[in-house]
């Protein structure tokens, strides 16, 4: 595999920074131009993008396909619900810190077990362990509310250490806009962190493991430990997405721990293209719109998404970003 991640030869760091800055400015202006509903959709998209970015650290960079990332997303969401309900906390920052710590611990335990295997066994193991959490959330209804889930009302929430709260009239409108920028900021920070990790010596080591495990071991890379660390980072960021998701959704149910949700995370990453850094971001946004409009337009939205996925795997295995890059490269060559 001679895939070039994110930085193709000749692309300077400045081009990436300027490009990201333009995208960020556009994202920051967008809520002024579109209606509140679109803003909510965008927020969901950004949240899923964090989940997919975290997930892709394992799939795209380490070469491990997890079919159990619903566990970390769901763990994050449930931890926020517990922190707010049982500890009476209101601060979102507290929820984020607590939730990420909790998810990190779960990812550390599950990862410790899972990285002993690769390929198909890794996938099945992640899946089996994620379903342990699902069955617990499903069965311990006096703690988790069972299939009813736990309500997480946005009105109980404060942002930025209590500076922004959502009480009184028109609070929902205020929440939507404030929360969008909150998520956008965290999205930007997460993207930068994951980018730095992916392009650090550690990230290069992960890619070496992905491409040739035996050679990586010869070079002196402790393969299992690197995989474990990657697993923890990946799980924690997917957990952050779950944490951010739950106040917006207002409710957490076992559905987000159920294994088809893991499938959705894989789906969006492949939709965007897991061979590029930006693929998961584009894929998560695109999947979010695709799913929302499919559900709105037909009762058989799963059928529609399933067909899209099958066509994607058959015809466009490199995803949206990969295909666009190839097309652009082709065009560039033909005009020269």
């Amino acid at each position: 595999m001679t895939m070039v991640m994110a930085v193709p030869a000749g692309t300077s760091i400045w081009r990436i920074i300027i490009g990201s800055a333009i995208v960020l400015v556009i994202l920051a202006i967008l809520p002024r131009l579109v209606d509140p509903y679109q803003t909510v959709l965008l927020t969901y998209g950004l949240i899923m993008a964090i989940a997919a970015l975290g997930f892709n650290l394992l799939l795209g960079y380490t070469g491990l396909l997890s079919f159990g990332h619903s566990a970390y997303f769901g763990a994050g969401a449930y931890l926020v619900a517990f922190i707010m309900r049982d500890f009476g906390a209101h601060s979102m920052e507290l929820c984020i810190v607590g939730g990420m710590l909790g998810t990190l611990i779960i990812a550390a335990i599950f990862g410790f077990v899972c990285v002993r295997h690769t390929r198909i066994f890794f996938g099945i193991l992640t899946l089996a362990l994620s379903q342990v959490l699902w069955s617990l959330a499903f069965k311990f209804f006096w703690v988790t509310g069972g299939t009813d889930g736990i309500r997480v009302p946005y009105a109980n929430l404060t942002l930025l250490g209590g500076l922004v709260d959502f009480k009184g009239a028109g609070s929902f409108q205020r929440f939507i806009y404030a929360y969008y920028y909150y998520v956008l900021a965290l999205f930007a920070v997460s993207t930068i962190i994951i980018w730095v990790i992916a392009h650090s010596p550690f990230g290069k080591a992960l890619q070496a493991i992905r491409d040739n495990e035996t050679r990586a071991r010869f070079v002196g890379i402790s393969v299992r430990r690197y995989r474990w660390i990657a697993f923890m980072i990946s799980g924690t960021f997917t957990g952050l997405a779950g944490i951010l998701w739950v106040p917006l959704n207002g409710l957490t149910t076992p559905d987000i721990l159920y294994w088809p949700f893991s499938g959705e995370i894989v789906f969006m990453t492949v939709l965007g293209g897991f061979r590029s850094f930006t693929g998961p971001i584009v894929g998560a946004m695109a999947f979010n719109y695709l799913k929302t409009y499919a559900i709105a337009s037909t009762e058989y939205w799963q059928l529609l998404l399933g067909v899209v996925l099958v066509i994607l795997v058959m015809a466009l295995p490199v995803g949206i970003v990969g295909t666009t890059t190839r097309l652009a490269a082709k065009l560039g060559r033909s005009t020269k």
Binding site: L59, L65, F67, V113, R116, H117, R119, I120, F121, G123, I124, L125, L127, A128, L129, Q131, V132, S135, L136, F138, K139, F140, Y258, W259, P260, G263, V266, F267, V270, E299, Y300, W301, Q302, L303, L305, G306, V307, V308, L309, V310, L312, V313, M314, P317
Partner: protein, 296 residues
């Protein structure tokens, strides 16, 4: 004591159904190295088709034992329908992917799962379908002071017959030899003049038939509902992981273990019965990655 006997019978019933599903999953993995995420949905499809056929036949059938035998013979039609679907799926969706990595196998079968779930909703509607008439007609037998449905024992018999039949088929027939040869070395088998593509279609269809049969035999006892396949797939995974992916004996032993643990779990520790099963699967994978009967 009576309760105990009934729980053991329940476990055997459950094991028979699980075996049918897991054996198909295992066979497909053993021959073509594909983990079929849509396998549970194929099981559900078998349940729906059988329930639908039996449901439309029951009103018209002759009363009495003769009618009952006729309806019982209709049940496998669901399995045959699923096998036909499988014979369509393999050449169109799976064949182009054998050279690609496993990630794509999982993804395409996940897409197939989504498609099948909605196709079932489209064809059979949202109301659960059941073939309960069969169970009612077969009556029950006394067990101690309680009674037990005869149909459940029939399912156990089907499970045993399927296990013996599949074993004889794989280890005692020429086709079985070809199947095992292809499973061990695809290129060598092709070089010896075996039509590998045909073997693959047949193996996949047989695997689907087993899943469909599982659905067909379960539907008189338990209605076919949406989401049935998604739930059962994970249990089938637990079975094949415990027994060993690709091993027939493993599927049998795994099904028995899962069935007994689950029955005991529902009786004694209902909150964590599912969690315990997944943890057992994880533990087996850790200690013996290839399962109890798997080969490396």
């Amino acid at each position: 004591m009576t309760i105990f006997v009934i729980q053991v019978l329940n476990s055997f019933f459950y094991a028979a159904v699980l075996f049918l599903i897991a054996a198909g999953l295992s066979l497909i993995y053993g021959v073509m190295r594909i983990v079929n995420l849509a396998h549970g949905s194929l099981y559900a499809l078998g349940a729906y088709v059988s329930a639908w056929i039996v449901g439309s036949a029951v009103g018209r059938a002759v009363e009495g034992n003769f009618g009952l035998a006729g309806v019982l013979l209709l049940l496998p039609l669901g399995a045959i329908a699923v096998a036909a679907v499988g014979a369509l799926i393999e050449p169109t969706l799976l064949r182009p992917l054998y050279r690609r990595s496993e990630e794509y196998h999982l993804l395409v079968t996940f897409g197939l799962l989504m498609i099948l779930e909605d196709v079932m909703k489209l064809l059979f509607g949202r109301t659960p379908l059941s073939a309960g008439a069969i169970m009612d007609q077969m009556g029950s037998i006394p067990v101690g002071r309680l009674i037990y449905p005869t149909y459940n024992l029939f399912v156990v018999a089907v499970g045993i017959a399927a296990a013996i039949g599949l074993w004889a088929f794989i280890y005692r027939t020429k086709f079985g030899v070809i199947l095992r040869a292809t499973s061990q070395d695809r290129r060598m088998a092709a070089a010896l003049g075996i039509n590998v593509s045909r073997v693959y279609v047949q193996a996949f269809a047989i695997g689907c038939f087993m899943a469909g049969l599982g659905g067909a035999v379960v539907v008189p006892a338990q209605a076919a509902v949406l989401g049935l396949g998604i739930e059962v797939l994970i249990l089938a995974f637990v079975v094949v992981v415990i027994g060993g992916l690709g091993s027939l004996q493993g599927a049998l032993v795994g099904a028995l273990i899962v069935a007994f643990v689950r029955t005991a779990g529902i009786q004694f520790f209902p909150e964590i019965e599912l969690a315990v099963l997944y943890l057992i699967a994880a533990a087996v994978l850790l200690v013996r990655p290839t399962g109890l009967f798997g080969r490396a």
